[in-house]
């Protein structure tokens, strides 16, 4: 009986998956910068623990050179918004297009981080995490153009 049920489920999954792949899984926006050496799967599962560990290093011990920093997330995983006014800006965590929200809304888990933390990077943050962009208007424009190109290509 158990075997029958398992195979039935497997057949069902096979039948549904190709047709409804878009609806079944969130489409995660592509990010700038070097890929995580540990792989995306590792980070998808372990990001809360990694961030929680390194935040304690920063807050309690003043060690700022950490591997998992929220500023790093916000800079590389920024998403260019559709209607951004005169100066282009990435969308903030209030938007369903935000990189964090894409998954978090899918799994219905509220993000506590951005109650206090900035969810949109500043010019200085971008220059610190991705040194190829300078911390001025020029660097910001290049950053926003690269973000837009990246998201255009992945659609």
């Amino acid at each position: 009986m158990k075997n029958l049920l398992t195979s039935l489920l497997a057949v069902l999954a096979l039948a549904i998956a190709p047709a409804h792949a878009q609806e079944l899984f969130p489409s995660i926006p592509k990010a700038l910068g070097e890929p995580h050496p540990e792989g995306n799967e590792y980070w998808r599962i372990n990001h809360p623990a990694l961030l929680a560990h390194d935040r304690d290093l920063v807050v309690l011990e003043g060690i700022r050179d950490v591997d998992a920093s929220l500023v790093g997330c916000v800079v590389c995983h920024a998403v260019n918004g559709p209607d951004q006014g005169p100066v282009p800006m990435p969308v903030n965590a209030g938007s369903p297009d935000n990189s964090c929200q894409v998954c978090h809304q899918f799994v219905a888990i509220e993000i506590g981080c951005f109650v206090c933390h900035a969810s949109v990077p500043s010019k200085e943050d971008v220059a610190m995490i991705l040194p190829q962009y300078s911390a001025d208007d020029e660097g910001w424009r290049a950053y926003m153009e690269d973000l837009a190109a990246l998201q255009e290509a992945s659609q």
């Binding site: 590792y42 309690l60 003043g62 060690i63 591997d67 109650v115 933390h117 500043s122």
Partner: protein, 257 residues
């Protein structure tokens, strides 16, 4: 000079050394999502000599404020703090005030005196004593902070503080600075520009602004470093703590009040 203010950090291996010592990064993926890995810092990965990161061992950061040089109509330090750290005070009682200007008046003589007051970074902070979650804490270099990750917003620390140095965030906040996260339901106060100290700027936003006005009423430095300007100044000239009767040994000292 060995100071009673602070215990020296020994030569023992810190958690950070262990974290940063190993091979730069070794990762073995066993199955999707199951990974064996060893962490190393960015610097370790690049094979560079590691610069000083984290807090300065044995330091006690402090301020020396000369009230005689602080004009009553100047609030450059307050505006600089507000701009640097992203808080705004519009005069409401519920608005944050990480630093504020206070005017003192001697009832007998009528002499008035203006000075900035912020978290005094006590050696024995009452706010740390009363905190039920350990969110209010003192860093090893003497800076008293709120760890908002553990703050539950009970405001005991605000009651305990003799200097009214902390405030509570009542409303949702947006547009925070990435160097100074702040949000509803947590207590906040002067951080002594800890982000600048960790960066090695060697100053704070208020002191920078005060120096820029030409008043030079504020000085920042390491009280435990006998060669620092501030240590020489406090050793040479008379300075006092606010509410010295409480015996809290403050990191902020005042002259001419």
């Amino acid at each position: 000079m060995t100071s009673p203010l602070h215990r020296e950090k020994g030569a023992e291996l810190s958690r950070r050394d262990i974290l940063k010592s190993g091979a730069a990064l070794a990762t073995v993926t066993l199955a999707p999502g199951v990974t064996l890995m060893a962490f190393g810092g960015k610097k370790a990965a690049a094979g560079e000599d590691m610069p000083a990161d984290g807090l300065k061992p044995g330091a006690r950061w402090g301020l020396l404020i000369d009230a005689a040089k602080c004009p009553e109509d100047c609030s450059a330090c307050v505006s600089a703090c507000s701009a640097e750290l992203g808080w705004e005070n519009n005069g409401l009682e519920t608005d944050p005030q990480w630093i504020r200007k206070v005017t003192l008046r001697d009832k007998e003589t009528g002499r008035t005196n203006s000075l900035p007051v912020m978290c005094q970074h006590c050696e024995s902070p009452p706010c740390v004593d009363v905190c039920p979650t350990g969110a209010s804490f003192k860093r090893e270099d003497g800076i008293v902070l709120v760890n908002r990750h553990t703050c539950i917003g009970c405001r005991y620390c605000m009651m305990a503080c003799p200097f009214k140095a902390r405030s509570f965030v009542f409303a949702p906040v947006s547009g925070q600075k990435s160097i100074a996260p702040r949000g509803i339901g947590t207590v906040e106060g002067c951080t002594l520009c800890v982000h600048k100290i960790d960066r090695g700027d060697g100053t704070t936003a208020c002191v920078e602004a005060c120096t820029a006005t030409g008043n030079n009423a504020m000085m920042f430095g390491d009280l435990n470093d006998p060669d620092s300007e501030i240590a020489i100044a406090v050793a040479t000239y008379a300075s006092v703590e606010l509410r010295a009767d409480l015996g809290l040994n403050l990191g902020v000292r005042y002259q001419n009040i």
